[in-house]
């Protein structure tokens, strides 16, 4: 049975409702108030996120809340285990950083209300609420609604500048997301038909290795992969993420694509713990490996900085899926006590910070130069030293060099590969790191080189914005001091009777 509601569970409701309340107030008041509301919600939301982390950490148990006091299967539960809490905190920190960064770009002019700022600030909050909904949702249909919220908040951000290319990119993104939703919903219908509930905890107790369960989980996984842009579903990502305004790109690449990945983790390790076979998990690993190689090689060939970073996202998403072949049915212990499981989660978090910092740095560079052609970057290192340094630091994390969160994550994936005797994944991680080194170096070499003619900046970039980018990049670096072992915090609230083989 799903147990009982915990004290502090109301924090979960606030984490979802507060950002959406902000959306409502922003729309009602309009004009400059949208930005003001966002700036008020940001610290409050961060405080809620911290409170959730503290509550999970102090009790050593997952938070649970039954909305309307209706227990599952009739009602909908919100749950936050260690994994949810970490993701909630990551989102809160990153959204505050992106919000501070975006102030200069999306300030509302005095007088009439302007389109882009109103849309950006309201949708920033909407993305936040939807992400929190995904991270704490305990019911697969409620999670579907949260995923749709995320899509509707993310798609307009892609086409915020209204150019034809970005409109096309937004439309394609939406079509892929629709495909994902339909597959997910089909799986949910089958699960309800077979087991009479969509609550994750109840399902995990009722589900068996039956064709219906397999088909449902496969359909949902494929749908989520389309939304997460895992190779070969990556086609929509580069134009969408590269075409959006820099703060929106940071939001999309850093956080939005992590939500479907998070749900794949939920499906595989919470809904059907112990059920997946190693052979099936190898498929996800192969797709991840293909994404790493393909994304990195294509990134190397890009002429524009933002596209390069977007293709790097395609590659870095691949790493996330290497955790599945390594954590499913490990030689000993639970999936979540393996190094690879923790490594995968850590990769999601450190990539969030690193990629957000990189997109914001690229945005500042493009603003200063008036373009983002890599060939024309010469001399920018002297003009914007802090920005270029932040770019380099985030690059460390993408390459997997110490000290950085990316290093710890990839080292743990390597450890997992060795421990499980699946050395081929280790090879992929190493080659991916080399290729990432290639494309980061490509940019840095240009940026630090001497310009042929004196550099003329088309716009001044404020020091404050550069500092924000630096702070976000430093978060990715600080994660490098996480211990190189399975995290205790991430294991809070994991089911401990999950392995079918051990039951």
């Amino acid at each position: 049975m799903p147990g009982s509601a915990t004290a502090n569970g109301f924090l979960l409701v606030l984490a979802v409702i507060l950002p959406f309340a902000g959306v409502l107030v922003s729309l009602a008041l309009g004009g400059r108030n949208a930005e003001r509301v966002a700036l008020i919600v940001m610290p409050a939301g961060l405080a809620i996120a911290l409170a959730i982390v503290v509550a999970v950490w102090r009790t050593g148990n997952a938070l649970q809340y039954f909305v309307g006091n209706w227990k599952p299967p009739l009602g909908v539960a919100f749950r936050a285990d260690g994994l949810s809490a970490v993701m909630i905190l990551t989102s809160a920190l990153l959204i505050c950083g992106i919000g501070l960064f975006a102030r200069a770009q999306f300030s509302t002019p005095r007088g009439a209300e302007a389109r882009a700022p109103l849309v950006f600030w309201t949708l920033l909050l909407a993305v936040w609420g939807a992400l929190n909904g995904v991270f704490i949702g305990g019911d697969l249909f409620n999670l579907y609604v949260a995923l749709e919220l995320l899509t509707f908040a993310a798609v307009p951000l892609v086409s915020l500048d209204g150019r034809a290319e970005t409109l096309a990119a937004a439309l394609r993104y939406l079509l892929f997301a629709l495909l994902g939703s339909i597959l997910y919903l089909l799986g949910a219908a089958l699960l309800y038909g077979a087991y009479g509930t969509l609550d994750i905890v109840l399902l995990s107790a009722r589900i068996h290795a039956q064709p219906v369960a397999w088909a449902a989980i496969s359909l949902m996984t494929v749908g989520l992969l389309a939304k997460a842009a895992l190779y070969p579903f990556h086609l929509w990502l580069p134009p969408a993420h590269a075409g959006a305004p820099a703060p929106a790109s940071a939001l999309l690449s850093g956080l939005v694509v992590k939500a479907p990945f998070f749900l794949v983790v939920r499906l595989w390790f919470d809904v059907m713990p112990g059920m997946p076979e190693r052979a099936t998990a190898q498929i996800l690993g192969v797709l991840g490996a293909a994404a790493i190689i393909f994304g990195s090689v294509v990134a190397l060939r890009q002429a524009r900085l933002k596209l390069l970073i977007a293709y790097s996202t395609v590659a870095q998403i691949g790493y996330l899926f290497l955790m599945f072949p390594l954590a499913v049915r490990p030689e000993g212990g639970y999936p979540w006590s393996t190094a690879a499981w923790t490594g995968g989660i850590l990769q999601a978090i450190s990539h969030a910070f690193a990629k957000a910092a990189m997109f914001m740095a690229a945005g500042l560079i493009a603003e200063a130069l008036g373009h983002d052609r890599i060939a024309g970057l010469s001399g920018i290192g002297r003009a914007l030293p802090i920005t270029v340094l932040a770019f380099g630091l985030s690059g460390l994390s993408l390459m997997g060099l110490p000290p950085s969160g990316g290093f710890v994550a990839k080292a743990m994936l390597l450890t997992g590969a060795v421990a499980e005797g699946q050395w081929w994944w280790a090879l992929v991680v190493l080659v991916g790191g080399l290729l990432a080194g290639g494309y980061v170096f490509l940019v840095l070499a240009r940026a630090l080189g001497d310009p042929i003619e004196p550099l003329r900046l088309s716009a001044q970039v404020s020091r404050r914005r550069q500092a924000v980018v630096m702070a976000v990049a430093l978060c990715a670096i600080l994660l490098g001091f996480a211990p190189l072992r399975p995290s205790d915090f991430l294991q809070i609230g994991r089911p401990d009777t999950g392995i079918v083989g051990l039951r």
């Binding site: 609604v145 034809a164 409109l167 439309l171 219908a189 086609l235 929509w236 134009p239």
Partner: protein
């Protein structure tokens, strides 16, 4: 075979038909139409599940029925946004279709979408 099973098979065929339309039609409008067709099939599957769960004096399990109502509204919202994007895109000069899969930097061939 009872009516619920019959409509269950019907929903399976609807999903296949919609999928076919999704793959072979290059125009975005027809793709959106195909999505709605598949959606109809998936919702119908929920309806079949609901009908099979008839009990307690109800002709069907009310929970999946309510889920379908929520799903229909969400599907309408997606269609509205997709069509608005499409209309706006088609009013841009020189853009009639989604850019082909191999636009410039993209070395890959096209998938179904």
């Amino acid at each position: 075979m009872n009516a619920a099973t019959l409509y269950g098979l019907c929903s399976a065929v609807l999903v296949g038909l919609g999928l076919y339309g999704l793959i072979i039609h290059p125009e975005p409008l027809r793709k959106i139409l195909a999505f709605n067709l598949i959606g109809g099939g998936v919702f119908l599957l929920f309806g079949v599940v609901a009908r099979r769960g008839a009990a307690a004096g109800f002709g069907g399990d009310p929970v999946p029925q309510a889920l379908v109502i929520t799903g229909l509204v969400v599907a309408f919202a997606s269609t509205a946004l997709a069509l608005a994007l499409l209309v706006r895109l088609s009013s841009e000069p020189g853009r009639a279709n989604l850019p082909s899969e191999g636009s410039g930097e993209e070395p890959m061939g096209g998938g179904p979408l």
